[in-house]
Symmetry: C2
Subunit: 426 residues, 2 copies
């Protein structure tokens, strides 16, 4: 596509989304749920056809020599088909956030002032690989009354197009504008640059992908971006922690899965409990092949653990998101040092204190400047479903608008409403 | 100042604010209120000294030939001194938003999930003329647990410096870091460009001033901006409106004051009620010297009003914020046309419907895409104090984060908190 053609195409997509947004915002809950249930049904009946389209992407990926885990993420298995359909039905079952009125209170002047929840307008979603995100984002867009513009990875283009057709079919059948969910049909890379810089059509961008992609998008976007760059999550084992609990939770936070952004990457241990705690967790890490990058104090306490993979932590380790069987370990002398370390080196994603000491728990909750702060629980719980949001379109580590796991509410805004009986200002 | 010196100076100011932010965030409610009450006392005792500094600004302004209304806005009268002191006491009396915990609910896994309100960190405030904004912004910064960097107009530099010294004295006396409130001491214009582009030190910018200044800041800022550009507020008189109410409210919305951003600038009238309504409101506007820029239908109905200043509205009039005794008037055929017109030409600030018809009132509330939407009340009520926020640092017409009048809550963020008893993810 020439630059002129691309510009014209993106303007067309954006304008169609903007026009559809008004109708999506005014849509009844019944119509939106009808669209979502029809989409679930279509995904089930059209599964084989989607898989045929998916096969084209898989063949191309294999021909290009894409790594096996990447190819796996791309594959629409029967299980993925079933999950996508269920996902739509779950979103249909969620309460409609749009139109919720809250905090309505009478003022001394006689007016009643409160807030109403309304859709943001149009969101742009940029993602890679897994084609089921097309259904996740589309279904959350429909339920939240927003229009959306989806931009999947070029490696999944046939799969995404097939899924998107079903979304449009479901919208149409439910009496909603098919343009309410747009998919960018070109794999031209310049389309992303344009999508993030057309505030006249798109109100917010939600990127999912690698850190460098998200950094680039944040830098170049001219609209707000809901994002997290990485998750350097900490577990701090305080002096008074219950030892068994600390071992269980630290193990879970690090090793239950290595790749999620809410897995622990850094372990801070109060020096008073370290001699009792570190050899125990060290033995588990050793057994699971987790490399421990330690400060001098921690390393000395772990030296006797059989089979432990120990290394000296560098300054860079304190800031690192490994997403791998590696953890940095540091002794601290008190909760102040732990909080200061986390606020300095962390990524403001999710951090936990393990303690029996109430004042330290409260200080940690108040003073750790992260989207999720936990007491005596695994960082792995930082997730929209675990938090009861019913869905998750992304995670935000920014302090503006949505913070932490972002569900339907994060795709809405609160406007003020005033109900009067002819009041005027004196 | 050379560019290098300015850069070093701004880095110094920013770093000091960032360092103070941690201590401000952790400050007790008692200490913050103590600082605010001490500030009120200092303003009262140091009034004459502030007025002596203010006299330097006034003399300079008059020497430069600044227009009289501008000089008036600059003047720290005895009344302004009293108001500033009262303002600090009022902010001290407001509930502390920081540390508020909400929506704490037990999840099936056993963890309790909720949210905690915390300060944003550092905000930058850019304003012109009225030096009392130094006290308003500083007091809201203190109460909300943020650090702030204030940048007033060069025409008020002596006044602002004198007020700021009192703020720092009050912070110090209350055991809080004086660097919690910074004032940019140079009048170098380049300082603004730097202030809005140092995300490492400043989390959000709040500009007050003319539209072109705010547009420039929004365009060049690398952090979020809480702002409204203008207030093209509409009153829509529906077919079923109570005539007396419609006359009273429309008159108040337009003429109670001409300069505020929540004054009405556009009047939409249902064609069925226009013959009864327009001559009545037209007579009032004529008596008050309000020029009416009309479409053909409205003009015909107003032609017989004695002394009416009538003109033909141009396309530009529908989008104009006059801030003057001028109003645009247009007939519409139904609520759909009114909503579409407002969403197209309005500035998403404040719009009101006057109607007895419940379904139209509800549609207007839902579908008008503005920060404040009203039924049967004057647009002039769109204000933090009238809404019960207890304070107002600005108004936002954006949909992200704070929308509408912004009080203490708009200077905070909600993080997730998780309280567990050793739960892990399975």
């Amino acid at each position: 596509m020439t630059a002129t053609d691309l510009q014209a195409y993106m303007d067309h997509v954006g304008a169609a989304a903007r026009a559809a947004a008004t109708r999506m915002a005014a849509a009844s809950t019944a119509a939106k749920n009808d669209a979502l249930r029809r989409l679930a049904a279509l995904i089930r009946t059209e599964g084989p056809r989607m898989q045929a389209e998916n096969a084209k992407d898989l063949a191309a990926a294999e021909a290009r020599g894409l790594a096996a885990p990447m190819v796996d993420r791309l594959r629409i298995t029967d299980k993925v088909v079933a999950q996508m359909a269920e996902n739509c039905e779950q979103v249909a079952a969620l309460p409609d956030p749009v139109g919720e009125m809250s905090n309505l209170r009478r003022r001394p002047t006689g007016i009643t002032v409160g807030q109403m929840r309304v859709p943001i307008g149009v969101f742009g979603m940029i993602y890679e690989s897994r084609p089921n995100v097309t259904i996740e984002a589309g279904s959350l867009g429909i339920k939240s009354g927003n229009a959306c513009v989806l931009r999947g990875g070029s490696e999944a283009i046939h799969s995404n197009l097939a899924l998107w057709k079903l979304v449009q079919q479901a919208l149409q059948a439910a009496g909603l504008p098919p343009e309410g969910v747009q998919l960018i049909e070109t794999t031209d890379r310049e389309a992303v640059g344009r999508l993030i810089a057309m505030p006249e059509y798109v109100d917010v961008i939600i990127p999912r992908g690698g850190k460098s992609l998200i950094e680039r998008i944040s830098r170049e976007a001219t609209v707000p971006v809901i994002k997290h760059l990485d998750g350097n999550c900490h577990v701090f084992v305080d002096a008074s922690a219950d030892l068994d609990l600390a071992v269980t939770v630290t193990d879970n936070a690090k090793t239950q899965k290595y790749s999620p952004c809410n897995a622990a990457e850094s372990l801070l241990v109060h020096e008073a409990i370290a001699p009792a705690f570190l050899p125990r967790i060290g033995a588990i890490f050793a057994a699971k092949g987790v490399e421990m990058r330690c400060d001098a104090g921690a390393k000395a306490l772990l030296a006797a653990v059989p089979g432990a993979k120990l290394a000296n932590a560098t300054e860079q380790d304190w800031a690192e998101e490994y997403l791998a069987p590696i953890i940095s370990i540091k002794l601290v002398k008190d909760v102040d040092e732990a909080i200061a370390h986390i606020n300095r080196y962390g990524s403001h994603h999710t951090d936990a204190i393990l303690t029996e000491h109430h004042p330290n728990a409260m200080r940690f909750l108040r003073e750790v400047d992260s989207a999720s702060v936990m007491v005596n629980a695994s960082t792995r719980f930082a997730d929209g479903f675990e938090y009861g949001l019913g869905a998750e379109i992304g995670i935000s580590t920014d302090k503006f608008h949505a913070r932490g796991p972002v569900g339907l509410e994060g795709l809405t805004s609160l406007k003020y409403i005033v109900l009067g009986q002819g009041e005027v200002r004196g």
